[in-house]
Symmetry: C2
Protein backbone atom coordinates (compact mmCIF):
# COMPACT_ATOMS: atom_id res chain seq x y z
CA UNK A 1 0.00 0.00 0.00
CA UNK A 2 1.11 3.54 -0.77
CA UNK A 3 1.45 5.84 2.19
CA UNK A 4 -0.14 9.15 1.19
CA UNK A 5 0.43 12.36 3.10
CA UNK A 6 -2.94 13.72 4.20
CA UNK A 7 -3.52 17.38 4.94
CA UNK A 8 -6.02 18.22 7.65
CA UNK A 9 -7.47 21.71 7.88
CA UNK A 10 -10.46 23.40 9.40
CA UNK A 11 -12.50 25.74 7.16
CA UNK A 12 -15.54 27.95 7.65
CA UNK A 13 -18.36 27.67 5.14
CA UNK A 14 -21.47 29.79 5.61
CA UNK A 15 -20.86 30.16 9.33
CA UNK A 16 -20.21 26.48 10.03
CA UNK A 17 -16.85 24.88 10.70
CA UNK A 18 -15.81 21.81 8.66
CA UNK A 19 -12.78 19.57 8.99
CA UNK A 20 -11.33 18.74 5.59
CA UNK A 21 -8.91 15.86 5.08
CA UNK A 22 -7.30 15.18 1.73
CA UNK A 23 -4.17 14.57 -0.28
CA UNK A 24 -4.61 17.98 -1.95
CA UNK A 25 -2.64 21.01 -0.71
CA UNK A 26 -4.25 23.08 2.04
CA UNK A 27 -4.27 25.98 -0.47
CA UNK A 28 -6.44 23.97 -2.85
CA UNK A 29 -8.80 22.94 -0.03
CA UNK A 30 -9.12 26.54 1.20
CA UNK A 31 -9.83 27.75 -2.36
CA UNK A 32 -12.59 25.14 -2.79
CA UNK A 33 -14.13 26.03 0.60
CA UNK A 34 -14.12 29.76 -0.22
CA UNK A 35 -15.71 29.10 -3.64
CA UNK A 36 -18.54 27.15 -1.94
CA UNK A 37 -18.96 29.89 0.70
CA UNK A 38 -19.10 32.62 -2.01
CA UNK A 39 -21.63 30.65 -4.07
CA UNK A 40 -23.88 30.04 -1.06
CA UNK A 41 -23.84 33.75 -0.21
CA UNK A 42 -24.58 34.68 -3.84
CA UNK A 43 -27.53 32.25 -4.09
CA UNK A 44 -28.80 33.44 -0.69
CA UNK A 45 -28.76 37.08 -1.87
CA UNK A 46 -31.23 36.14 -4.64
CA UNK A 47 -33.32 33.77 -2.48
CA UNK A 48 -33.18 35.04 1.12
CA UNK A 49 -36.08 32.82 2.26
CA UNK A 50 -34.28 29.49 1.58
CA UNK A 51 -33.20 27.40 4.57
CA UNK A 52 -29.53 26.43 4.68
CA UNK A 53 -30.08 22.80 3.58
CA UNK A 54 -31.96 23.87 0.41
CA UNK A 55 -29.42 26.64 -0.17
CA UNK A 56 -26.58 24.11 0.01
CA UNK A 57 -28.41 21.72 -2.35
CA UNK A 58 -28.87 24.54 -4.90
CA UNK A 59 -25.17 25.37 -4.50
CA UNK A 60 -24.35 21.73 -5.27
CA UNK A 61 -26.73 21.80 -8.28
CA UNK A 62 -25.02 24.95 -9.58
CA UNK A 63 -21.54 23.41 -9.13
CA UNK A 64 -22.48 20.13 -10.83
CA UNK A 65 -24.05 22.10 -13.70
CA UNK A 66 -20.77 23.99 -14.23
CA UNK A 67 -18.84 20.71 -13.95
CA UNK A 68 -20.97 19.06 -16.67
CA UNK A 69 -20.55 22.08 -19.01
CA UNK A 70 -16.77 22.03 -18.43
CA UNK A 71 -16.70 18.26 -19.08
CA UNK A 72 -18.29 18.91 -22.48
CA UNK A 73 -15.58 21.51 -23.17
CA UNK A 74 -12.86 18.97 -22.24
CA UNK A 75 -14.33 16.50 -24.75
CA UNK A 76 -14.29 19.15 -27.52
CA UNK A 77 -10.68 20.10 -26.72
CA UNK A 78 -9.62 16.44 -26.73
CA UNK A 79 -11.26 15.97 -30.14
CA UNK A 80 -9.44 19.02 -31.46
CA UNK A 81 -6.09 17.67 -30.20
CA UNK A 82 -6.79 14.33 -31.87
CA UNK A 83 -7.61 16.13 -35.13
CA UNK A 84 -4.49 18.34 -34.92
CA UNK A 85 -2.29 15.30 -34.27
CA UNK A 86 -4.20 13.53 -37.10
CA UNK B 1 -33.49 41.97 -25.66
CA UNK B 2 -33.23 38.37 -26.70
CA UNK B 3 -36.18 36.22 -25.82
CA UNK B 4 -34.80 32.98 -24.40
CA UNK B 5 -36.89 29.88 -24.05
CA UNK B 6 -36.83 28.78 -20.43
CA UNK B 7 -37.49 25.20 -19.39
CA UNK B 8 -39.24 24.65 -16.07
CA UNK B 9 -39.11 21.25 -14.42
CA UNK B 10 -39.60 19.78 -10.99
CA UNK B 11 -36.90 17.41 -9.68
CA UNK B 12 -36.44 15.36 -6.54
CA UNK B 13 -33.12 15.62 -4.72
CA UNK B 14 -32.60 13.68 -1.51
CA UNK B 15 -36.33 13.48 -0.82
CA UNK B 16 -37.07 17.17 -1.43
CA UNK B 17 -38.77 18.65 -4.47
CA UNK B 18 -37.07 21.55 -6.29
CA UNK B 19 -38.29 23.68 -9.18
CA UNK B 20 -35.55 24.23 -11.73
CA UNK B 21 -35.76 26.96 -14.37
CA UNK B 22 -33.12 27.38 -17.04
CA UNK B 23 -32.25 27.73 -20.68
CA UNK B 24 -30.67 24.26 -20.60
CA UNK B 25 -32.61 21.23 -21.86
CA UNK B 26 -34.75 19.41 -19.32
CA UNK B 27 -32.50 16.36 -19.96
CA UNK B 28 -29.44 18.33 -18.82
CA UNK B 29 -31.27 19.62 -15.73
CA UNK B 30 -32.46 16.11 -14.81
CA UNK B 31 -28.93 14.74 -15.24
CA UNK B 32 -27.49 17.42 -12.94
CA UNK B 33 -30.21 16.80 -10.31
CA UNK B 34 -29.59 13.04 -10.36
CA UNK B 35 -25.80 13.56 -10.04
CA UNK B 36 -26.37 15.72 -6.94
CA UNK B 37 -28.83 13.17 -5.51
CA UNK B 38 -26.34 10.29 -6.11
CA UNK B 39 -23.47 12.24 -4.55
CA UNK B 40 -25.53 13.13 -1.45
CA UNK B 41 -26.50 9.47 -1.00
CA UNK B 42 -22.88 8.35 -1.45
CA UNK B 43 -21.53 10.89 1.11
CA UNK B 44 -24.35 9.95 3.50
CA UNK B 45 -23.43 6.26 3.27
CA UNK B 46 -19.94 7.12 4.62
CA UNK B 47 -21.18 9.71 7.18
CA UNK B 48 -24.66 8.63 8.32
CA UNK B 49 -24.66 11.05 11.28
CA UNK B 50 -24.49 14.26 9.17
CA UNK B 51 -27.57 16.48 9.02
CA UNK B 52 -28.86 17.29 5.53
CA UNK B 53 -27.49 20.87 5.47
CA UNK B 54 -23.92 19.70 6.24
CA UNK B 55 -24.36 16.78 3.84
CA UNK B 56 -25.36 19.20 1.06
CA UNK B 57 -22.42 21.53 1.86
CA UNK B 58 -20.00 18.59 1.60
CA UNK B 59 -21.65 17.62 -1.69
CA UNK B 60 -21.04 21.17 -2.95
CA UNK B 61 -17.42 21.02 -1.71
CA UNK B 62 -16.91 17.74 -3.54
CA UNK B 63 -18.42 19.15 -6.76
CA UNK B 64 -16.37 22.36 -6.65
CA UNK B 65 -13.21 20.30 -5.99
CA UNK B 66 -13.92 18.23 -9.14
CA UNK B 67 -14.67 21.46 -11.07
CA UNK B 68 -11.32 23.01 -10.07
CA UNK B 69 -9.40 19.85 -11.08
CA UNK B 70 -11.21 19.78 -14.44
CA UNK B 71 -10.47 23.50 -14.94
CA UNK B 72 -6.75 22.71 -14.53
CA UNK B 73 -7.14 19.97 -17.16
CA UNK B 74 -8.81 22.47 -19.56
CA UNK B 75 -5.84 24.83 -19.16
CA UNK B 76 -3.38 22.02 -19.98
CA UNK B 77 -5.40 20.98 -23.04
CA UNK B 78 -5.59 24.60 -24.26
CA UNK B 79 -1.81 24.93 -23.89
CA UNK B 80 -1.31 21.72 -25.86
CA UNK B 81 -3.58 23.01 -28.67
CA UNK B 82 -1.63 26.28 -28.78
CA UNK B 83 1.61 24.32 -29.01
CA UNK B 84 0.27 21.99 -31.73
CA UNK B 85 -0.97 24.96 -33.79
CA UNK B 86 2.56 26.40 -33.37
Amino acid sequence: MTKLHKNRISVDIYGQSYKMIGSETSGHMRLVASMVDDKMREINSHNPSLDSAKLAVLTAVNSVHEYVKLKEQVELLEEEIKRLKG
